[in-house]
């Protein structure tokens, strides 16, 4: 059965063509472009490492956006994954109405990427917006979320964290695969709930934690809608993430070669962080015993 190799290849053909045409070719092309100067009108001119030299040595805006991106990713990803794990853990017990909570927590993940939510978010964090209205109830001074360069990044971070539902759903599926017998045994030995969480739950789902961290890192580095709509990169470039800078250079100033170089820096950064995660994973991700716990 299913030995017809040509037939399998034929069915896979759309994907093979699609990957070549829309993924691999553009990938190679953007690399090639990054060594040129290109303004969309005149043909690209090869300029060697000029773009990379420029951004590494003479471009304060690149340094700024790199710093903002790193800070954003290193705070927002742990927050999103941490929340997701915590809520999934609470939801993992037999609870009535679990479906309601699951849907309620998942909804922001589904809508969160939309421009409509970005517009609404901008409003929630406005000077007289909902957040400051709530703070006022506790007698706190309004915080200039969008106008002050120290606070602006937090509006983006909170928007990212708010969408923890997708990671939560994945955690929940993983938690439901942890055998109940392990908890029962630990209970007999007198382990507290906290001990059970850190000694049983967390070690058993490290592969899923790892997976979520990697996927969310890739997302965080590409965050665009939020900074573009809510803060427009400002104030004082405090939310000027790399994706925004790449967009500006490529599609607003038409420095396509430079934009390509920037996007390759972003790619290298994601690759590097992924590699570090993979390297570190051998110290904290445990795959052993996974087979026994399945089903």
């Amino acid at each position: 059965m299913y030995e017809n190799k040509r037939l399998g290849f034929l069915f896979a053909l759309p994907f093979i063509l699609g990957v070549l045409l829309f993924k691999l070719f553009p990938f190679v092309m953007s690399f090639a472009l990054s060594f040129t100067q290109y303004d969309l009108i005149d043909p690209p001119v090869f300029n060697g490492l000029d773009n990379y030299r420029e951004l590494a040595l003479h471009d304060p805006l690149f340094r700024q956006s790199l710093g903002v991106t790193l800070m954003f990713a290193l705070i927002a990803v742990p927050m999103r994954v941490g929340f997701a794990l915590f809520i999934a853990h609470v939801l993992n017990y037999k609870l009535r109405g679990i479906n309601f909570f699951r849907a309620a927590f998942y909804l922001p993940s589904i809508l969160g990427g939309s421009i409509a939510v970005a517009v609404l978010w901008r409003f929630i964090f406005a000077k007289n917006g909902l957040v400051n209205l709530i703070l006022a109830q506790f007698g706190m001074e309004p915080i200039p979320w969008l106008a002050d360069e120290h606070y602006s990044i937090w509006t983006i971070i909170l928007l990212f964290t708010w969408q923890f539902g997708s990671a939560m759903v994945i955690f929940l599926a993983a938690l439901q695969n942890v055998p109940v017998s392990l908890y029962e045994a630990a209970e007999c030995d007198g382990a507290s709930k906290t001990q059970q969480f850190f000694r049983i739950t967390v070690p058993l789902i490290t592969p899923v934690i790892f997976f979520n961290v990697i996927m969310q890192l890739v997302h965080a580095f590409q965050e665009f809608n939020g900074p573009y709509m809510i803060t427009e990169g400002g104030p004082l470039h405090s939310t000027y993430v790399l994706a925004l800078y790449i967009y500006d250079q490529s599609f607003r100033y038409f420095n396509l070669g430079y934009g390509a170089a920037l996007s390759w820096v972003l790619f290298a950064l994601v690759g590097l962080l992924t590699a570090i995660s993979f390297w570190s994973s051998k110290y904290w991700v445990f795959y052993s015993g996974e087979k026994e716990t399945r089903k």
Partner: protein, 281 residues
């Protein structure tokens, strides 16, 4: 006091979940209320309930400051979303069938590439893709937004379908094959019905993601009459910076309605779908 430790913990869990749900959803609920409020009310009222129900903000927001209303922009959004959903499902199911049920040369490598592309930041590809579509003379049309999906480039969906198919035993297919079904008949009569829950998740995800997509239309579309809702919203906020917020909020709320409706109609399917695949894009 006959409250057991178990019960107390149960209540604590509900309390925690309820609080989180409140924080998660109240902003959305409050904004719906805000669309009925006057500017001064919006800035002072913490409560959801407006003092009057005035749909004026909706009417004004819907009209926009351009010559088109949001009816045009919604129609445009659907003109992108519906064809894209169709070609996505067709191509992804066929390709997933190949990966899950056939052996062919280079399959392992191709599968790794599929996983790899899920981790590739899309923004790296935007610029060359733009240049390609310019070469194809497809700028300012919906083709750049739809065409790639016809080639199963939304690899997350292929992966999801493959994972789903792997969990289904092959007995039925074997029986059908003995009865003389060919590969295409198998696909249509056996695989597609079995895949139904996963196919629904693919459709729902693609609907919402395409409705949400902003950068794609921003790059490829130039004429206002072709704008989808996301771009039109962006335009209305820039155009009405000084004007009443309620209009902009009202239209943002309307813009979310299709996605919210689809979410609640199908949430069971695609929460399972996302969880089962172990991935969410």
């Amino acid at each position: 006091m006959s409250v057991t430790k178990e019960q107390r913990q149960q209540w604590l869990r509900y309390l925690a979940l309820g609080l989180v749900a409140l924080v998660m959803l109240y902003p959305l609920v409050w904004l719906v209320g805000a669309t009925f409020k006057t500017n001064s009310e919006i800035y002072t009222e913490l409560g959801f309930w407006p003092s009057r129900f005035d749909f004026g903000a909706y009417a004004k927001g819907w009209k926009t400051s351009t010559e088109y209303t949001f009816a045009t922009y919604f129609l445009n959004s659907f003109l992108i979303t519906l064809p894209r959903m169709l070609v996505t499902v067709v191509s992804c199911v066929i390709v997933a069938y190949a990966f899950a049920r056939f052996e062919f040369w280079g399959k392992k490598l191709l599968f790794s590439i599929m996983i790899g592309t899920m981790m590739l930041p899309l923004i790296v590809l935007r610029l060359p893709q733009y240049l390609m579509f310019r070469e194809f003379d497809m700028l300012d049309s919906y083709l750049p937004l739809i065409l790639p999906s016809a080639f199963a480039t939304d690899t997350f969906f292929v992966f999801m379908l493959v994972q789903f198919l792997r969990g289904i035993p092959r007995d039925m297919e074997e029986a059908a094959q003995i009865d003389g079904c060919n590969a295409l008949q198998l696909l249509w009569h056996i695989i597609v019905p079995l895949l139904k829950p996963a196919i629904i998740s693919v459709l729902v995800f693609q609907f919402i993601w395409t409705m949400n997509d902003f950068m794609g239309p921003l790059i490829y579309l130039a004429s206002v009459e072709k704008y989808p809702v996301s771009l039109a919203l962006k335009m209305s906020i820039t155009a009405t910076e000084q004007v009443e917020w309620a209009n902009v909020i009202a239209i943002s709320v309307v813009a979310l309605i299709p996605s919210v409706a689809v979410f609640f109609a199908a949430q069971r399917y695609f929460i399972e779908g996302a969880a089962g695949s172990g991935v969410k894009g």
